[in-house]
Symmetry: C2
Subunit: 140 residues, 2 copies
Amino acid sequence: MPNQHLEDSSQVVGQVAVQLRNTRQKEAIRAAFVNANRPLSPDETLTYAQEQVDGISIATVYRNIGALVEEKWLMPVEIPGESTRYEVAGKEHHHHFHCHTCGKVFEMEGCGIQLKPKLPRGFRVTGHEFFLYGICADCN
Amino acid sequence: MPNQHLEDSSQVVGQVAVQLRNTRQKEAIRAAFVNANRPLSPDETLTYAQEQVDGISIATVYRNIGALVEEKWLMPVEIPGESTRYEVAGKEHHHHFHCHTCGKVFEMEGCGIQLKPKLPRGFRVTGHEFFLYGICADCN
DNA sequence: ACACTGTTGAGACCGATTTAGCGATAACAT
DNA sequence: ATGTTATCGCTAAATCGGTCTCAACAGTGT
């Protein structure tokens, strides 16, 4: 049997030394997130960044996302059955909408969840996630 | 750039010809789900099944999970940032609790979600998912 | 009990995603 | 302008979940 540990297959872009220099590439990557204003996958980030810097490579995207996460400018957003997205950090608690046609992930303002699911005794809740699925305005 | 399509990296155990024979392995796998009474990953399933059938292999687990999904005895359960779990089908709409200590996923009875998140106009909702995170009774 | 054939176990293999290595390039202080 | 060295682009390679191959095995009908 290959792996003893059953869990923690979760994967987020790993730690990278914080970037010191301001490169066109890093700027383009930051701009991608600011302009898109929604959580982006590394691939999507690459696509947007390409528009500003020709020839930027996927490795650079991963390196910079890693650095931006480390310096807390980005936050990972995990979606069921999807690869990790990243969004600009510091926003207030909110949830996400996943379009099953184009695959894009959007932010929804506010949380507004109040529910008391029946949990067996002994369980302690520390957080929650909520996702809506459907078709986005563009695909509609 | 390798892949044009940004999305649909999601992966669920594929279609397999429905199993006809009653083997000890298939029994053990079914029993694993019934006894655990919570969604299991293929790896977890293997661990439980090992207890009944010595030397059962991960390939067999995947094959049988695939078959059981195809015959609608199992249903895939996708967890953010985790590999797909499977649970016995036919239960009523409910959500899940993910223990971030042991990584196990538990079922919570009922849904009870009523909320109106602010969605931009043009978005159509077809479904939702909800997850609680925390520490389970065993880990507490 | 026998033959037929579906199922298994073990490891090689797969495709997609992510990371590491390395020589070349460019940011920034001097 | 120059030197230092962080960062880049490229490519190879590591992961990871999952599948395939195939000889050996074991249900099942007769």
